[in-house]
Amino acid sequence: MNQTANLFGGKSKRDSRARAVFLRRNGPIIMVYAFILLLVIIGITQSERFFTERNLTNVARQSAFLGIVALGQMLVILTAGIDLSVGSLVKVSILVSAIVMNGESGNVLPAIIATLGLGVLVGLIHGFLINELRIAPFIVTLASLVILRGIGLTISSSPVGKASREVMMFYVQKIGPIPVIAWMFFVLIVLTMLLLRYTVFGKYLFAVGGNIEVARLSGVPIKAVRYGVYVLCSLTAAVTGLLWLSRMGVGDPAIGDGIELQTITAVIIGGTSLFGGRASVLGTLGGVLLLGITANLLVMLGVNQFIQGLIQGVIIVAAVALYKQEGD
C-alpha cells in the first residue's frame, strides 16, 4: 500500500490537483445539469404528458425565447454590468414590429429593420449614459425599464398591429424534429462561445469585467467595449420581441414583463459571477433549461402557479449556495 503510494504519488497528486481545478471551474455547471436530469426523470415518471414530442417542442421553444435574451444578459453581466431593461424592450419590440408589419408580407423587412434599429438605439443610449455620464448600469437600465414600459403602454394598452402570415408560420416551422426557433437559439449559443473564445471583443469583455482599471491601463478601449455589449444585449431583446410577434400574431403589450429577472436568474444559476470577469455559455444554457423545465413540470404536475414562483426562488438560493460551497 505504502509502496504503491510512493510509486504513483507524483501522478495521483497531479491528477487530484487537476480534478480540483476542473471541479472548481465546472462544478456549478455539472450540478445544474445533474439537477436538470433529475427533473427530467421526475417528469418522465410522474407525468404521462411530459416526455411527449409536443411538450418537449414547447419546452425547447420557450427555452429559446428566454435563452436568447439570457445570452445578451450574460455578456453584460460578464463586464460587471447588468441590463434590467430587456423585458420592457421585448415589449416595445413586439409592439413596434406588429404595428410596422400590420399583417402585410411586404412590410416584414421594414418591421425587422425598425425593431433591430430600435435595439441598437437603446443599446447605444445605455452605452452613452454609462460611458459618458458615468451612471451605474443598474440605474441606467432601471430607468430604461420604466421608460420603455411606459412607452409600450402609451403605444397601446390592448393588442395592436398584426404579424404577416409567414411570420406566424415561422413559429411552428421545424428542421427535423426541432423547431426553427430552437435552432436559432442553438446557433446563437455557438456564436457566443466563439465570440468569447476567439475574438478580441470577447477577451475585452472578460478584461473589463475582471478589473476595469487594469483593462484601461492595458489599453483596452473600454468605452467601445461597453457600447458594444449593451447594443448586443438590446439586440437580443429586440430579436426576442420579433419572435414573440411570431408566436402571438399581434402586438400584445402584456408581453415582456419580468424577462429581465428571469434572464438574470438563468445567468446566475449558470455560474456567471454578478461581479464580472467570469461567464459560462453552457452554464447559462443550463440555467435557462432548468427554469424552463421546472416551470413546465410544475404545470404538468398541476402545481398552483403562485407556488411556482416560490419554488423558483428556492432553486436560485439553493444553486448559488451550492456553488459557494464548491468554490471553497
Partner: protein
Amino acid sequence: MSEYILEMRNISKSFAGVQALKEVSIRCKPGLVYGLVGENGAGKSTLMKILAGAYRADAGEIVYKGAIRDQASTAEIIDSGISIIYQELALVRQMSVAENIFLGREPRNRLGILNLGELYDRAGELLKRLGIRLNLRLPVSELTIAQQQLVEIAKALSQNADLIVMDEPSAILAGSELDQLFRIIESLKLQGVTVIYISHRLEEVFRIADEVTILKDGELVATRPIGELDRATLVEFMVGRPLDEVFPQTEHEQGELVLVAEDVSTDTILAGVSLELYAGEILGIAGMVGSGRTELARALFGADPLTGGSIKLAGGGEARWGSPAQAINAGLALVPEDRKTHGLFTALSVRINVTIPILSSLTRLGVLKRAAEEAVVRGAQERLSIVMSSSDQETQFLSGGNQQKVVLAKWLSTDPAVIILDEPTRGVDVGAKFEIYKLMRQLNDRGIAIVMISSELPEIIGMSDRILVMNDGRIAGELAREEAGEARIIELATMGGSEAALT
C-alpha cells in the same frame, strides 16, 4: 506555564494536493521579535493563517499560553490576544480612520447606541501613543496606502494583543514611516508583547528580529538567533544557493533622448515636473511615499490627465497621448505599484493577462489565433522563467514574484521603448528580485529606457544611472549615480517644501 507563549508543533497543510506546509514547528517567547522569512510560496502566510484560525491545519498542534488550542473563530482568537496584520489591507474604505480602528468593538452606551465621542477620544489617544499623525475623521479611502497600513497597525494594537503577527508590514512603508514602525515594535517588546515579523527585506529582519526562522517550499530550513546569521547565510538558506551579486552591472553609454516631460502638472499632486529620459538608461525616482512618484508614473503613461505641461517623445516629433491606449501605441509601458488592483486580472488566466495589450495583432480576419497567443505566453514563460501550471492558470494562484513576472511579460509583449516600473520588486522574493534586475539590464542593452520608482534606497542606488528625488509633487534634485548616497537622497526627499522649490 512554559516559557513559551506560543508553540506551533509539526504543522502540516495541503491545498488541492499541493503541500503548503510540512511539519513546521516554531516557538516564541514573550517580549521577543521573531523574523519569519522565506521566498514567496515558502508557506509563511499559510502558517500565520493557521495561527489566525483562517485555515485549519491537516496535522500538528498549537499550544498557546500553555494550553492546546482547538479550532476557534477569528473573534475568539482575537480575544485570546493574537492579532494579525495582513499584507492585504482589510479596512472599510468609506469609514473613517477611528471607525476602522474600532470596527466591531465600538464603544457603546447603556442603550447600545454608538458612543462616537468616546470612539474618537480613544482612537486619538491610541494614535498619539503610537506617534502616528492622522486625521481621525478622514475616510480611509482618502489616505495613501502607507497611511492605511499605519491604520491597520493601530487597529491591531488597539486590541491589546499579547502576540502580534505582521505580514510584510513594510512592503508599502518607507523611510520615516518604517522608522516609526520599528519604534512601535521596540515599545511593544518592552511591554512583553511577542511580535512575529514577516518580511522580504532582510535589512529589516537584521534590524528588528531577535530570532529568525527560515521556511522554504513549506519546510522549516532553520531557526537561528540573529547573532548567528549574516546576510549571505540567510539568503543562502532562503534560496538554497548563494547569490553572488545583488545588483547586476553593465557598462553602457548614455543613448539618445527618447522622452521629454516639461512642467507636468496634474490634479493629483504633480506641480511642474520636468525630466528627460535617454535610451538604454535606468532613471531612478526616489522620494517618500506620497511625494508624487506614482502620480508621475501615471501622468507619463496618460492614466491621469495633465492640467499643465507636456510629455513628448523625442525623435518621434509631436507624438502625444491622452490615454493609456495612446501611450501604449507610442511605445510606453507601465508596471504599476499595486499589482493586484492595477496590474493584473487576478481572476483571469495568465494567457489573457500577458496578451491583452496586443490581442488585436494576434488575429486573422478578426479571429484570434490560439496558437499565436500560446506562442506569446510560452515565449514570456521561457524568457522570464514564470512558474505556472498552464497558461490557463488564474494569476491569483501564482506567487508574488511570478505575478510580477506576468505583469512584466505583458508589457514586454508590446515591445516598448520606455518602461515605467513602479516598485518593481515589492512583495517579490530575493531570487525573483535578482531575475527582475537582470531583466532590467537586458532591456537596457536593447536600448529600452527604464523609469524605476522605488522605496528601497539600495535598489535605487544600485540600479539607477541617474536619480531624481521627488518631494511634494516636484523634483527636489537630480543625482548622478556616483554622488548618490542614502543620506543625500533622504535629505532631498525630506526637505521642507520651500527649500525644495529652490533647488
